[in-house]
Symmetry: C2
DNA sequence: ACTGAAAGGTAAAAGGG
DNA sequence: CCCTTTTACCTTTCAGT
């Protein structure tokens, strides 16, 4: 399914998506064409979903990151609530979860005032939402990709 | 600080980091060299932190994503606990937070059995940790970058 | 399934307005 | 601050093994 060369290619590009296929080829003693073929294979298999530029939100003026656990009035309200959350650009991630919350979201905003307005005027204003719990992140000391070492084959 | 062209470049590359500078230049009626200069400027300013390949963890056999809220025995235990969490490759993100938890982490594992072992044998075994709450993610319907539209300049 | 070579395209640096 | 030019390198395709 996925061999050692695939893993090295993935690891390299997950770390820096702009490393040239030629460099990867050189380091692994294969031709650039082979690297190209492997990448295309993994893209078609859905393993590779794209390449994203990583930006620092703080450098752009988004200083506050927080997580919000959402309790819905009824379980069936999930699709409607999600659609309304998706319309808010400040909501960067959403998860449908087990446990006390139905939906768990990550929001990135400029400052605490913006967070307060977002919470009160736009999130708690959503009909389907019963209540929310907010967790403000002060630091983000770990942010990395899944380790491929646990991959067996 | 950051003008309209910078914003268009960021938006384009945040979506697809492999779009060529030549294409971006064409769409904005500037030269490829200008795009190159802008990207370098933003890299030096720390706005651009790199380009990452986006992979689908499920396609690689990591089927379970979850969040774990961690309560420490003492607030001062934070650095030691964090270092121990960092040593676990399954911990892909960590946040230092206000509220009921001191540390909030995201973990990605192969299955529920692995999650259970990780939790009991490696996380709850950390001396500095008093207790944990786990939130299993069943779906991840929203995963996107910060919207640049709120950016003033 | 990998390689080597060819064609076209791209990045990055240099120089000028 | 942006442009054009230039050079070297890169991706991608395809025939051959």
């Amino acid at each position: 399914m996925i061999d050692n060369l695939d893993k090295v290619i993935l690891r390299t590009l997950m770390d820096n998506a702009r490393v040239s296929y030629a460099d990867i080829a050189k380091n692994n003693r294969v031709s650039p064409a082979t690297v190209h073929v492997r990448v295309e294979k993994m893209r078609k298999a859905g393993i590779i979903k794209g390449a994203k530029l990583k930006v620092d939100p703080r450098k752009l003026g988004f200083d506050v990151t927080c997580f919000i656990g959402i309790i819905l009035k009824q379980a069936g309200d999930y699709p409607r609530a999600l659609a309304k959350l998706e319309a808010l650009s400040e909501v960067t991630e959403a998860f449908y979860t087990t446990g006390q919350y139905s939906i768990f979201i990550k929001v990135v905003v400029r400052n605490i005032d913006d967070l307060q307005r977002l919470l009160i005027e736009r999130i708690q204003a959503i009909d389907e939402i019963q209540s929310t719990d907010t967790l403000i992140s002060l630091q983000n000391p770990i942010m990395r990709d899944v380790g491929l070492d646990a991959l067996g084959h």
